[in-house]
Each structure stands twice: as structure tokens, then as C-alpha cells.
């Protein structure tokens, strides 16, 4: 084992896929530019050379057709990994995702399984505008039938990908572009991590405490884990110990991890790069107050994307995106401290 090897998220994903393709001949990959190009965010790098065109299949730009084909392949005994290049492109293929992949196990009375991974790139911050920058976590977590995964680092990315491929149900694997370790898009320190060479799994529905603290709980996932850790670092200088919880999966959701942290801290800030309304942030608050409103010693706060389409202009986009400063201010509000000037 090579425990001192540091992998980027994209390489960790490709390694997990390659190891599962070696282990199970029914695993194959398809999508736009996932072959010779290796996936535009690097998640299938090197797989075509190793496994050939039969198992690493470039598709035409027709998400409806190839995601529908993925569902059919999964129901026929294969284990497809299908890439939807940007999650924003879900519009044309939502019938295949929501009405076929998510529901067929129910509609067939449990006679058909759909062991399919739909992996897709999320997130903004690099001026790619309103059709290439969304995270849309809640859109997929909302309707029953899909499991939804969103890792924040390379170690989790590999383990969660292996779990996703071995899962007998459809899994939406949402990877943030800004965490992939691509040369043309800066990724935060901590996205690339030591990654064991051997295969391993990470169970769904188990959040991770990314930083321990006693004063306030920050619940988040994906890219915003890094923004929250940055905020927690700044707050530590003011004597505030923030606990950061990385949910890792939206469905299943580790509500227990949230509740036990809030029981300890009494204060809650929920951070999401997805739109503010009707989303993850509200779900976490509802979980706490439905269980015991007495857990909270102060009104909770949400830091999320405002309810507007994502702007192209860099100053406008950066103004709207959640960041460490906004998270730290939200924490200060829960503690009745003054906001940073």
C-alpha cells in the first residue's frame, strides 16, 4: 500500500472506476467525451487505453438516448456508469433519470434493479454562467428513488465511487468541478488527499466531522466544506470553535450526525452552493426543529445561493456565491457577535 500518495479527486474517481471494471466485467462507462478525452473533468482519464472502446463508450450529444440506454443496460444485468457532462444539462434527460432510473424498481414490484451510476459535474465560481454552474443538489435529492452523493475530497471520492458502482440502485454521483484538481481550475488545499491504492468503500449516509468544535455547528458538503473550514480557521482566531460537518451524501442523509453536533453546540449554520429556497439548507433546519426545537440556543442561519440564475460576470457571480466571509458572518450572528467590517 502506498499511503503517502496524494491523488486529485479526478484521478481518485478514475482509479475507483478502473478497479471496479477489473473486478466486474459488467461495469462499463459511457458519456460525452469520456473516451479519448478522458472526461472533460478528468473522471475517466486513462480508462479507454486500459479497457477499450467496448467498455468505454463515447456517445453522441443526446443525453436522453444514452441515459435511457444506461437504465436499460442496468435492468438487463450490466452496471453502467454514465456521465452527464454538466448537471445543468439534466433538462432534456430528466424523464430517463426521474421516471425510469429512479422509479423502475418500484414500478416492477422489485423485479428489476437499476444498478447504474450517473456521475455529473456541479458547481460554479469560474464564470461559466447559468447553464454550466449550478449544483442542483436538492433537485435530485427531492424525488424518491435516487441515492445522491457529493464528495469533498479525493479519499471520499474514491470510496464513494466504489460504493456507488456496487450499489444495486441508481446513484447520482455529483462531483464539483472546482475540486477535481484540473490545471485550468484552481482547487482548494485539502481536495487532493492521500488515497490508498487498494479498493475500499465508504458507506452512504455517514457524515464526517471535518473539524471539531464546541460553539457552533456548520453543516455542508462538496466544495462548501472547504469554504466552511476556511471560515472556521478565521473564527478560531476570534476564539470561536466551529464544528464542520461534511454530509458526503444527501440521500441517505445522516440526520443523526447533525442532531448530535447541534445538541453539543446549540447553534447551527447550514451552507449549500445550491439555491437557497426549498433545498438542503431548509431540510437540515427542519430536521433539527422537528426533532427538538430546544436544541437551538439561537436562531439558525442559512448561507446558500440566492434565488437567481447564476451570472456570467465574474464580479456578479462572486458576489452571489457563498464564501468563507459569508459563512463566518452567519456564525457570528448565531453568537450575537459583530460582523466583520
Amino acid at each position: 500500500m502506498d499511503s503517502n500518495r496524494i491523488l486529485t479527486v479526478s484521478r481518485a474517481m478514475a482509479e475507483a472506476i478502473g478497479q471496479e471494471m477489473k473486478r466486474d466485467k459488467n461495469v462499463f462507462v459511457m458519456g460525452e467525451d469520456i473516451g479519448a478525452y478522458g472526461g472533460i473533468f478528468g473522471a475517466t482519464q486513462g480508462l479507454l487505453e486500459e479497457f477499450g472502446e467496448e467498455r468505454v463508450r463515447d456517445t453522441p450529444i443526446s443525453e436522453t438516448a444514452f441515459i435511457g440506454a444506461g437504465v436499460g443496460a442496468a435492468m438487463s444485468g450490466m452496471r453502467p456508469i454514465v456521465e452527464l457532462m454538466f448537471v445543468d444539462f439534466f433538462g432534456v434527460c430528466m424523464d430517463a433519470i426521474y421516471n425510469l432510473a429512479a422509479k423502475n424498481v418500484y414500478f416492477s414490484g422489485g423485479h428489476f434493479k437499476v444498478p447504474m451510476v450517473l456521475m455529473t459535474a456541479t458547481g460554479g465560481g469560474y464564470s461559466d454562467a447559468g447553464q454550466h454552474s449550478q449544483t442542483l443538489h436538492a433537485t435530485f435529492a427531492h424525488l424518491p428513488g435516487l441515492k445522491v452523493v457529493a464528495p469533498s475530497n479525493a479519499y471520499d471520492a474514491k470510496g464513494l465511487m466504489t460504493s456507488a458502482i456496487r450499489d444495486d440502485g441508481p446513484v447520482l454521483y455529483m462531483f464539483h468541478k472546482g475540486l477535481q484538481g484540473l490545471v485550468w481550475m484552481a482547487s482548494p488545499e485539502g481536495a487532493a488527499t492521500p488515497v490508498p491504492e487498494e479498493s475500499y468503500t465508504i458507506p452512504f449516509g455517514e457524515a464526517k466531522v471535518a473539524r471539531e468544535g464546541k460553539d457552533v455547528t456548520i453543516v455542508t458538503l462538496s466544495m462548501m466544506v472547504h469554504r466552511a473550514l476556511e471560515a472556521a480557521g478565521a473564527l478560531a482566531g476570534e476564539g470561536v470553535e466551529a464544528e464542520v460537518i461534511d454530509l458526503r451524501t444527501l440521500v441517505p442523509l445522516d440526520r443523526e450526525a447533525v442532531l448530535s453536533s447541534v445538541a453539543k453546540t446549540g447553534r447551527l449554520v447550514v451552507v449549500d452552493e445550491d439555491y437557497r429556497s426549498f433545498g438542503l439548507t431548509a431540510e437540515i433546519l427542519a430536521t433539527v426543529v422537528e426533532t427538538d426545537p430546544g436544541l437551538l440556543r439561537a436562531a439558525p442561519r442559512r448561507v446558500a445561493y440566492p434565488n437567481i440564475p447564476i451570472p456570467y460576470s465574474r464580479p456578479m457571480e462572486q458576489f452571489a456565491l457563498p464564501d468563507a466571509a459569508k459563512i463566518a458572518d452567519a456564525v457570528r450572528e448565531t453568537l450575537d457577535l459583530k460582523k466583520a467590517a
Binding site: 503517502n4 496524494i6 491523488l7 484521478r11 482519464q45 484538481g181 484540473l182 490545471v183
Partner: protein, 80 residues
């Protein structure tokens, strides 16, 4: 001791003057096996993996995001 080098002629510097070290896959001072993938170098959107010429201890010479050309020494493998 062995140099970790961007291969000569890896790209045509008349067309692409320079590249960058996109990623190091081991930290400075790490124990390295011969043939391990050490770093990723990118020039004009093409990515190249640099492997370890020998086993030993890695010393990074050009850090992540540092500028390189074919032939650049980006690190050294020390004995032991």
C-alpha cells in the same frame, strides 16, 4: 541520485513555449518506488504524467503551478 525531468521533445517549444506542473502526487521528502507516477505536467491543455526514474526520497524542485519546458528538472530522487 536521479533527476526527475520533463522528457526532452515532449512538446514543440516553438509552438507551445511553456507548460506548468499541474500536480505533485507525493509530498517533498516522500519515499518513492521506481516507476511511481510522481507528477502531472500540462502544456496547451494536454496532460503528461512524469514517473519516478528510481526509488528513493523525493525532493521537489519545481512546485505545483511552476513553469516548465521539455528537459526541465522538476525534482530529484535522493538515495535512501
Amino acid at each position: 541520485m536521479a533527476d526527475v525531468r520533463v522528457p526532452e521533445g515532449l512538446w514543440d517549444v516553438a509552438k507551445i513555449p511553456e507548460g506548468v506542473v499541474a500536480n505533485w502526487f507525493f509530498g517533498d521528502g516522500s519515499r518513492i518506488e521506481e516507476g511511481a507516477t510522481l507528477a502531472e505536467v500540462v502544456a496547451e491543455k494536454s496532460s503528461f504524467d512524469i514517473t519516478a526514474p528510481a526509488a528513493g526520497t523525493l525532493r521537489i524542485v519545481v512546485p505545483k503551478d511552476g513553469v516548465v519546458t521539455p528537459g526541465s528538472v522538476i525534482g530529484r530522487i535522493e538515495d535512501g
